[in-house]
């Protein structure tokens, strides 16, 4: 009789404990699933932002390089003509333009753009 009572008491308490643990487990599972969805969404958004930024910078830089190269080619044609005609003033002016174009670094524009993009995204995407 005593064992039976102990068994019944134990069983009753254990069932309550199990039910409580099931509820707790269910709650934790849901919370963790939600957090994992959040993590995945933030990751996708962050990667998308990085990709977009990179693509824009690549396009910007390619355009800049192409434009500058064609300008420089034109200037060298003019430089050759000036050398041929012994026109020192034009030689000096064309060469100065070439050097100034060479000094103007397209990467600086990319940096400017990247920092603007970072400012825009700051606080919006964080893992």
């Amino acid at each position: 009789m005593i064992l039976s009572a102990v068994g019944t008491k134990l069983t009753g308490k254990s069932i309550v404990d199990v039910l409580h643990t099931i509820a707790e487990n269910h709650k934790i599972t849901e919370e963790q699933q939600t957090r994992r969805h959040e993590i995945s969404a933030i990751k996708d958004a962050t990667i998308e932002a990085i990709k977009n930024e990179r693509e824009i910078i690549e396009k910007l830089l390619n355009k800049e390089f192409d434009l500058k190269n064609s300008k420089i080619d034109e200037l060298f044609v003019r430089l050759d003509q000036a050398i041929e005609s012994n026109n020192i003033e034009i030689v000096q002016s064309v060469l100065a333009t070439i050097v100034s174009l060479a000094k103007d670094n397209p990467l600086a524009k990319a940096v400017e753009f990247a920092s603007l993009a970072k400012q825009k995204n700051r606080g919006r995407i964080t893992l």
Partner: protein, 170 residues
Amino acid sequence: MLAATNATLAWFGGGALAAGGGGMALGTAVLGGIVAGPLIAVTGLYMDSKAEENLTKAREYESEVDVAVEKMESSKSYLGSVDKRIAQLTRIIKAIDKRYIEIYNSRNIQNSCNMESLTMFFIVGSLLKQTIDIPILDENKSLHKEFDSKVSMLKENQDVKNLKLLEGIN
């Protein structure tokens, strides 16, 4: 008292052996199951919760790695642009240098007293020097510094990993 205990155990076993039940042995096993079953269930659920939390942590780490990989792709792309910039400057330097040598040879600069030729040679030479002096990266120090810090951070991480590896070996 002993009789009552035995009877209870036999009751858990579905009755005495003589009556067609499982007897005390089965009763003891059933009672053990009643006590151990919930304990196993609770432990299992606790482990399941912990596994859920660990899975979340793993996903978090996975995301950080994915984002870091994407950032590395951007760094790679940036290095590609630096490469283009180097190619551009090299092209300009070579083109000016070619004209500089042409002027030197065609106008016999070494023996020339012609002021026009000497001036032109000097102008082309000085602008060639200016082009050679153009820095490739330092105009965007911010990115340069950021890049440097990233490289040194990666290096430090690698050093720490190597150190741990060595500690593991020793």
